[in-house]
Amino acid sequence: MNHFYLILTALAYALSLWLYVQFLSTGRKLTGRLGTILLALGLVTHYFALLERSRGSHTVPYHDLYGSMSLFGWLLALTYLGLELFHRQRSVGAFVLPFILVFFLAAHLAPADRLPPPAAHGIVFAFHVTLSILAYAAFALSFVLSLIFLGEERLLRRHKVGDVVWRLPPLELLEQMSRSSVLVGLISISIGTALGFVSVDRLPGQNSLFDPKYIITLLVLALYVLYFFLARTTAWRGARASKLCMFNFAIVVLSFTVVNFYFSHSHRYF
């Protein structure tokens, strides 16, 4: 297998992370811009790395744990870049890039896949999986943003206004970014789940209608809808909403790991 794209992607993400950290610590705009450019470059090479691997194994990227994790990292980077450009705010890049880099690298350290391939195939199923992973990536991003919100809020309340606080986004913007990210996640998971039911419908007798994955997915959906409304209009806005967002992501992780591996009949890495 050609490692050209893998090395290029790892380098681009690592350099982008370094530049974002520099931007956060020095405030130099040029380093921030270069960080964004390298992230975009990493996204392109990461795409080609995924494409190359899919062609090599004659299957979709989410077929195994490696592909799922790598696709998750790619979608996380894509969602973050979109959010950065939409909100014109790049000081959180230093906090998001480690997650992208870790997922990209961890994919290569993942154990060899021994599970049978999923029963469902086709474009509807492909969209179901891709949109579900995109939703997880968007929720992961909202988790990071909520974490930054809580840290900054704590520093401001304790009057510990150091260098970093002046460069982080305002609290209200962090909340907006988190809500934008959750909105992307909600739309993706709603469509993805609907497409999942369509896929199941096409496989009569092969999937149980009482898969625990369905229940936890609907729970995740409900919790994020709750967050979305609480964060906007009620007494929960601010730190409480951010804590709820972080709790919701813990449920997502539970769904992604324990439920998939031990309880679900038809879900594996998505």
Binding site: G27, L156, R157, W166, P170, L173, T233, A235
Partner: protein, 425 residues
């Protein structure tokens, strides 16, 4: 093409002297006209702010020779005795004058290190002088460079990003919570000098809704009128605290005016929308328990003073980066200046060589009557070729090669060597 600067600033002159030597725009124009008419300066730019009055110019002769005349002019223009003025005046020439202006533009020479207003003042002074034809190629280039330095220092360093007064620190902190303040509202409790400063800061941020509350309604009305704010009725806290995102309190009161239960009720009515309280009163106007309420951020004068001190240290640590930018642009300007001077020198040199050759031929070759006409023409041709090789060719290289011009550090020496003070470009 030398540059002279004569001026005074907050470091060299007390406010009484600065007031007397300041220029209105009309005065600046009149001074520039008079300086040109009297032959003291060919190009002039007057930079006058509350902290400095400086005259930048290009004298027809040496910059050192023009400085006393410029000092006398300032003394006469502002009717201040020369001996009084001389104590406060500084004179800078060429490199030092360029460097001084670039440091001014960068905010490095300001009373408040890194302040942003000076760049606008330099831009305005240049625009005015340029429009009135007081500047020429040298000052145009110099001030365009100064504006570039100012912009670069502000975008590439953090010299001007940190607030340096308690009021501005408070406003910047509010921006850390709410982002842009233009769509936000504020309530200012008290109508003293501090309240005025804060209102000025908030208005500069384009804050949409400002309210003033004060025990004396008349004073509140005056202040509200000055800043386009509305007046809130003293003591009606529930109504007053419903809409503002920022509350600034600076009243003389023995007991806190904003008690915990008042703010608690207000927060419930506001649906816990974030509230930033700036307590600039002494003793404190806000009950310390208010800071424990959900989504309420309270900063006292002491907190803000600590932040200002941290920021001062942070700004000072940015000075070397700003100085590097200044030095880089001083080098660029001096290189441009040298190239312009050398091109002028080359032109003068070519004229001189042609004249010398013509005179030489007249006096020497034409007296050689034994030579045939064709031989004389041949000698003239040989002489032309030799001069071309010796001087005209290097002169053309000097005009054409940028690197060569950079190597020649002192155009004045070349001028003295070849032109012997007969002709100066």
């Amino acid at each position: 093409m030398e540059i002279v600067l004569v001026g005074l600033n907050h470091r060299t002159a007390p406010v009484e002297v600065r007031e007397r030597v300041s220029f209105t725009t009309e005065q600046a124009q009149r001074a520039a006209d008079e300086l040109r008419t009297r032959g003291i300066l060919e190009e002039t730019l007057v930079l006058s702010t509350c902290n400095r009055s400086e005259v930048y110019g290009v004298p027809p002769e040496s910059s050192h020779e023009s400085a006393p005349g410029l000092s006398s002019f300032l003394s006469e223009f502002h009717a201040v005795r020369l001996d009084v003025l001389n104590v406060s005046l500084y004179h800078h020439y060429d490199r030092e004058a360029v460097r001084h202006l670039f440091r001014v533009s960068a905010g490095l020479d300001s009373m408040l290190l890194g302040e942003a207003e000076i760049l606008g003042q330099v831009r305005e002074a240049y625009r005015f002088a340029h429009e009135h034809g007081a500047t020429g190629p040298v000052l145009n280039r110099l001030f365009q460079g100064a504006l570039e330095v100012g912009k670069r220092v502000r975008s590439e360093t953090e010299l001007g990003t940190r607030p340096m007064s308690a009021a501005s620190a408070g406003v910047k902190l509010a921006e850390r919570i709410f982002g842009k303040l233009s769509e936000r509202s504020a309530l200012v409790v008290g109508a003293g000098t501090t309240s005025e400063q804060v209102l000025s800061q908030l208005r500069d941020r384009g804050m949409a809704h400002l309210h003033v509350m004060n025990r004396s309604r008349d004073r509140a009305n005056d202040l509200a009128k000055q800043f386009g704010a509305k007046v809130a009725v003293w003591g009606e806290w529930e109504q007053a605290l419903q809409s503002p995102d920022v509350v600034v309190s600076s009243v003389a009161a023995e007991e806190p005016v904003l008690r915990r239960e008042i703010v608690e009720r207000a927060m419930a009515a506001r649906g816990n929308r974030a509230l930033f309280l700036m307590d600039l009163g002494m003793p404190r106007n806000v009950d310390p328990g208010v800071g424990k309420l959900y989504n309420v951020y309270v900063y006292t004068m002491d907190d803000l003073t600590d932040i200002v001190q941290q920021n001062r240290n942070a700004r000072e640590s940015e000075i070397p980066r700003a100085e590097n930018i200044v030095d880089e642009h001083v080098g660029k300007f001096l290189s441009w200046q040298a190239s312009v001077e050398l091109v002028g020198l080359v032109d003068a040199l070519r004229i001189r060589i042609r004249e010398e050759r013509a005179a030489f031929i007249r006096s020497r070759v034409e007296s050689m009557q034994h030579l045939a006409e064709a031989d004389r023409a041949h000698v003239e041709k040989l002489m032309d070729e030799m001069l071309e090789k010796l001087l005209l060719e290097p002169a053309q290289r000097l005009r054409g090669e940028k690197q060569l011009r950079r190597k020649i550090q002192n155009a004045e020496a070349l001028r003295d060597l070849f032109l012997s003070n007969r002709e100066k470009p």
